[in-house]
């Protein structure tokens, strides 16, 4: 740790500064290198400055500021920029008699850098043309076997290293499907040659391994088009560190904001926003954050009055980014938005009228409380969780799926602490009548425990661990040991041989035949980033797993929930997707995420509290219309991101406006689409609007894109005509009351949009009605238009 703590501007002279953790460069072997990062003021000049070594026989430096050892001795690198010179001393030893070349330290990173072990090439599970490497070089011993001993050693020709198949193919001197990767006579080429000439030594014992890596700088504010050279520094198990910039790969999570090339040179694009550029070396990842502001940094945000901690934390970020929010929305917009987001329905005309009229300055917070206490909040969130928890009636679960649905709804209605809810699912035991959440297990019918392990991690911890079942996670520190560690909590899960679903229980001994491929044995329980555990045969390890989740210091659990809620209400997670938290996918506002997570913990996992915090904030209540100052914002919530209503909510909204009932059989006559306990209630409407099939725990299962079939259904179907002109419907009732046309138009607008028509809209609508010789049909037309308008389909 000592190394990282004194990271900073170590040497300064006039206008050039070097970003470096050390005051001088010290090379102790022939394979070292060092990337100089030169700043002039706040600008990166690494690629503009010129470099000169005072003793090229000791150290050489290229035009990109990369220093390499040549021979033992001392040298100085002159860094020159605009007439200013800065000297960087270099001390080289061990070139002639330092440590020997090491397969893991020198060769494996090359396999990654050159793309040999990528998922599309030799790194994929089946290898490529008979030659297989571990994905991204996570298994050096395997790679060594592959290169040196497999295929009867034909890949290496010790007598003449350059004639080795390994070199010949990689350098394109022999036909190679992957083309020319290794440039002859390049440094990389020399290293490989040297390794073969040295007799292809295996991974040396006692050679320190990488403990962590860090990127320099780790964040920066860019202007459009700005560039930045970054360095990657690895810290080793023996406390030493070295520059591994040239042995690392780089990738941006948002290429429209910034891209990085193979040497770690970052270039910001023409768009404002934020990106995280990942550096990866030997299975370790680090990020540097690229922040491209929308405008000049602001001292204050004009016209925005913070009313909550969320607002203050958002403001801090907006100031940095030069973002100005859209003004807070009006009352009518707010009640419609909140009713849809919180209750999955439109507000009634009466609710809207009363709310708009109410003069209480605290009325928005009051509305949040009223709706949270209504039966619609648990109904809607039971639908959401039913989908995430894959509650289905498949495999004989018809009655169990009702029971599970009701259990979820009841837990939400009683606002039971979230950890209790999770315990009810993850540690469910018994018959479905008593523990309906066993349907979560039953729907996986998963003796390998793959779905159970992956879902537990993704749904409750927000960590997508499933990659690590087969290989090390490419963008995270997770390996197979972590994946199978989680699996280890479920290996004693047993089920009886009767009933659908059958009773589940925790057996005294292992029931799963699944093996941890690293050990060849049944997986042993280990907490993510935590210790291995042993349990007696009386204990149910799943309870220990939930205990661990619910510890205040658990780094995943509370963040996963608050981010899911944030994503639900704001249309995008603080990290996005909402269940994908990892270092290389950083939150757009970490302070805000931390604040919400802390609130969640200190309020004993009270979900309503989190919802209250979010929905009463001014950030949630911003208007959805982009302004000049935030039109490019897609990450920092400077306006409410409008989105389509989910399939079920939309069908209910259509029925609400037209005055129809859903008519699903198997639930109560007043049951709505959001009340359906499972996904197998036949509905062309819901299927066409992409109701989730409940086959994954990922919320991304619900896609929003438009389709032709949706439009044909809405604009051109007997189904919709029937809803519009049914004798029991809203329009028929309005006609019966024989109201004047303007009043009927007002009514339809208010029910669908929670607002009155504008003068222009009213005039156009009236004109349509008056011109028609059939008032009923003319109003049907207007209702058709309302249902087909985007304002109706979107929550905004």
């Amino acid at each position: 740790m000592s190394f990282f703590s004194f990271l900073g501007n170590a040497t300064a002279q006039d206008s050039i500064t070097i970003l470096s953790p050390v005051k001088s460069i010290e090379f102790k072997d022939a394979f070292a290198g060092w990337q100089i990062i030169a700043n002039a003021g706040q600008t990166d000049v690494t690629r503009i400055a010129s470099y000169k070594s005072t003793n090229p026989k000791v150290a050489r430096v290229d035009e990109k500021g990369f220093v390499e050892p040549v021979g033992d001795g001392q040298a100085t690198i002159h860094v020159t920029h605009q007439g200013k010179i800065l000297d960087v001393p270099v001390d080289v030893s061990g070139v002639s008699n330092g440590r020997p070349i090491d397969f893991r330290t020198e060769i494996v990173p090359l396999l990654s850098k050159l793309g040999c072990n990528a998922g599309g090439c030799h790194g994929k599970a089946s290898g490529q043309n008979g030659f297989k490497l571990s994905l991204f070089g996570f298994d050096a011993d395997f790679d060594f076997e592959s290169i040196v001993n497999e295929a009867r050693g034909r890949r290496i020709f010790p007598a003449n290293p350059e004639k080795s198949l390994f070199i010949q193919k990689a350098s394109g001197q022999m036909p190679h499907g992957g083309g020319k990767r290794l440039i002859p006579d390049s440094n990389d080429y020399q290293i490989v040659k040297r390794w073969i000439a040295a007799g292809t030594p295996p991974v040396a014992k006692n050679v320190p391994t990488v403990k962590r890596i860090q990127m320099i700088p780790n964040d920066r504010i860019y202007k459009q088009g700005d560039t930045q050279q970054v360095a990657v520094i690895a810290e080793y198990t023996d406390g030493s560190f070295r520059d591994v910039t040239r042995q690392s790969e780089f990738a941006s999570n948002l290429d429209v904001i910034a891209v990085a090339d193979a040497t770690g040179f970052i270039k910001a694009g023409k768009l404002s926003g934020e990106a995280a550029v990942m550096g990866r070396h030997m299975g370790h990842v680090a990020v540097t954050r690229v922040l491209v502001p929308h405008g000049e940094a602001l001292k204050e945000i004009p016209g925005f009055k913070p009313t909550s901690q969320i607002d203050l934390l958002a403001i801090a970020k907006w100031k940095k980014l030069g973002l100005q929010p859209t003004p807070v929305c009006d009352d009518a917009t707010f009640i419609r938005r909140l009713s849809v987001d919180l209750c999955g329905r439109l507000p009634t005309l009466e609710e809207t009228t009363a709310f708009v009229k109410d003069t209480d300055t605290n009325k928005r917070a009051k509305l949040v409380d009223t709706l949270l206490d209504s039966a619609d909040y648990p109904a809607y969130f039971a639908m959401k969780w039913g989908s995430i928890l894959r509650n289905s009636n498949h495999a004989g679960s018809d009655r169990a799926s009702y029971a599970f649905h009701n259990w979820i709804r009841d837990m939400i209605a009683r606002n039971r602490p979230y950890d209790e809810f999770v315990r009810g699912v993850v540690a469910a035991s018994g018959e479905w009548q008593d523990a309906p959440a066993i349907n979560w297990y039953w729907q996986s019918r998963d003796d390998q425990l793959h779905q159970v392990s992956a879902d537990t991690s993704q749904v409750f911890l927000g960590v997508r661990l499933q990659c690590a079942r087969c290989h090390h996670h490419p963008y995270e520190r997770w390996g197979q040991g972590d994946y199978y560690g989680l699996t280890g909590f479920f290996t004693r899960l047993g089920k009886k041989s009767f009933g659908e679903p059958p009773p589940y229980f925790t057996s005294a001994s292992v029931t799963s035949s699944e093996k941890n491929p690293l050990t060849g044995k049944s997986p042993e329980p280990k907490f993510l980033d935590g210790p291995e555990m042993k349990f007696s045969s009386e204990e149910d390890p799943r309870h220990a797993l939930v205990d661990w989740m619910a510890k205040p210091e658990n780094p995943f659990f509370s963040k996963a929930l608050v981010n899911r809620m944030w994503g639900h209400f704001l249309g995008r997670g603080l990290f996005q997707e909402v269940d994908d938290q990892r270092e290389t996918n950083p939150p757009s506002n970490p302070e805000l995420l931390d604040y919400l997570a802390k609130e969640f913990v200190s309020h004993k996992f009270d979900v309503k509290h989190v919802i209250r915090l979010i929905t009463t904030s001014s950030v949630y209540q911003l208007g959805s219309e982009p302004t000049e100052h935030n039109k490019n914002d897609h990450q920092n919530f400077a306006r409410y991101y409008a989105r389509r209503m989910p399939a079920e909510v939309f069908l209910d909204a259509v029925n609400q406006v037209t005055g129809n009932k859903s008519g699903f059989s198997g639930i109560s006559a007043n049951g709505r689409a959001i009340d359906l306990p499972h996904e197998n209630f036949g509905s062309y409407f819901l299927d066409t609007f992409d109701r989730p099939k409940r086959v994954t725990g990922c919320e991304c299962e619900r896609s929003t894109g438009a389709t032709l079939a949706q439009v044909l259904l809405l604009a051109n179907s007997d189904e919709m005509e029937g809803k519009i002109n049914t004798a029991q419907g809203r329009l028929a009732k309005l006609m019966k009351q024989n109201l004047p046309a303007p009043e009927m138009i007002d009514n339809l607008y208010q029910v669908a949009f929670s607002r009155l028509p504008t003068a222009k809209e009213k005039a156009r609508s009236l004109d349509h009605v008056n011109k028609s010789d059939n008032k009923q049909q003319a109003l049907e037309d207007l209702l058709w238009v309302i249902l087909n308008s985007k304002e109706f389909m979107f929550n905004h």
Binding site: H176, V259, H634
Partner: protein, 439 residues
């Protein structure tokens, strides 16, 4: 909006990609319109081609259809005998007699293969080019038709680009390309009397005038700003409204789906069953400007039991008739170069016959039929070993099978989309077009 970022990059198989278009993550794997138009312009062949894929869900038995092994032991070769075709030297199974007479208009790839013997995963692999890591009944990767819809659009703008017949295919969806590229399906069997496409003709009480008055009113009143969402759904919806209204009011689409316009004789030639009539409808659709049609070729190809009876009494006669009629019809109309017909399933079947006279799942070798589309016809490509277990020459991965199809459509299969995790996902991650076919 988002913009191009050129990137010279070399794929694993050594092909230098042209600067590919980058997708804004903000549009979730979606290209912006100008990007898309440019991509399309770059990939458009001079001719507007289309594809009809006959999908034999369940896994058709290669060793009983196109790759017979008369010299193998009886527990492998089975009951069927090879017969000569109109191309000297090429033999196929005796229960494909109609196809044997048009072999010059077909090419058979005998050496297709992969390694996944599960229906869901094998199907996903063959229908997307990507092997999924988990067994799910939904697309993780975009189906061929969705990719084609995204890259080429419809050949005629008053038609949908991608259609499934007669119903939506389980694994025919767009995944991370976005629901806009999901297939359109009539949701009814074209073999039924009074076959109609759901919601394509006007509702009973609405006439064209009234619909057009509604449209005018909608145009005047539907004024919410189009830039309030971040995913482009609003703009997407608008474009679908235009398409939908076009389809409903313009008779072209309705006519294309109107089976009554075909002669009784031709309808009989295709076979009066769902497969036959779907093939005929597919021809009508590509004629009208649909770019990609996938036909679910009935069910029953999963012949674990009574393989031989099932094939000879039911599956093969229907399939033989439908495919032959389609190929001949396309030739008669001079469309064979513009339309590629393919027939395949998710895998072949075990050469060794099981105790129930059936054959089980076998991805080690399978046969794929190609016809037309500008490919070289009248040949067999690749071969398998004595027991039809594995390719011995020209092994063709799913990527090879599919890239050959993309090649016909002028689509660069190295072009990369982005999935939900922002991983660049090339249209195909492996495989190059089969040289013998593209000539």
């Amino acid at each position: 909006m988002l913009e191009f970022i050129g990137k010279g990059s070399t794929t694993c198989d050594g092909v230098n990609r042209r600067s590919f278009l980058k997708v804004g993550s903000l549009a979730l794997g979606g290209l912006t319109l100008p990007q898309l138009l440019k991509a399309r312009a770059a990939s458009k062949p001079s001719k507007k081609r289309s594809v009809i894929l006959i999908w034999q869900a369940g896994g058709p038995s290669h060793i009983d259809m196109y790759d017979l092994k008369p010299n193998a032991p009886s527990e492998i070769r089975g009951e069927f005998k090879p017969i000569a075709t109109n191309v000297p030297g090429i033999q196929i199974g005796e229960h494909l007699p109609l196809q044997s007479k048009i072999m010059d208009k077909l090419s058979i790839l005998r050496s297709a293969c992969h390694t996944n013997a599960g229906h869901g995963m094998g199907s996903q692999w063959m229908l997307t080019g990507y092997q999924p890591t988990i067994e799910v009944n939904d697309n993780i990767f975009p189906s061929l038709g969705s990719v084609v819809a995204k890259m080429n659009g419809a050949n005629n703008p008053s038609m949908p680009p991608y259609v499934n017949l007669p119903k939506l295919l389980n694994l025919g969806k767009a995944a991370y390309l976005g629901a806009s590229y999901n297939p359109f399906a009539p949701d009814n069997d074209p073999n039924m009397e009074g076959f109609k496409v759901r919601n394509l003709s006007l509702p009973s009480k609405i006439n064209v005038d009234r619909l057009s008055r509604r449209r005018d009113l909608l145009n005047d009143l539907d004024n919410i700003r189009r830039d309030i969402d971040t995913k482009g759904d609003l703009v997407g919806l608008d474009s679908f409204y235009k398409d939908a209204m076009e389809m409903v009011t313009n008779t072209k689409a309705q006519d294309a789906f109107d089976m009554q316009r075909e002669s009784v004789v031709l309808r009989d030639t295709y076979g009066r069953n769902d497969l036959g009539q779907s093939c005929l409808l597919a021809r009508r659709l590509v004629e009208a400007g649909v770019t990609f049609v996938t036909i679910q070729a009935g069910g029953g190809w999963d012949t674990h039991g009574d393989n031989f009876k099932g094939l000879k009494n039911n599956l093969l006669p229907k399939f033989d008739r439908a495919l032959t009629a389609l190929v001949e019809d396309l030739h008669d109309r001079g469309m064979s170069d513009d339309v590629l017909v393919m027939a395949m399933g998710e895998f072949g079947r075990t050469p060794k016959i099981n105790s129930g006279a059936g054959r089980d799942h076998w991805p080690g070798a399978m046969s794929v039929v190609y016809s037309g589309g500008g490919l070289k016809m009248g040949q067999v490509v690749g071969s398998t070993n004595a027991n039809a277990e594995y390719p011995t020459t020209k092994p063709a991965t799913p990527g090879c099978v599919l890239s050959t199809m993309y090649h016909c459509l002028g689509i660069d299969h190295h072009f990369a989309f982005h999935d939900q995790a922002q991983r660049p996902m090339p249209i195909l991650s492996e495989g190059e077009p089969i040289q013998e076919l593209i000539g």
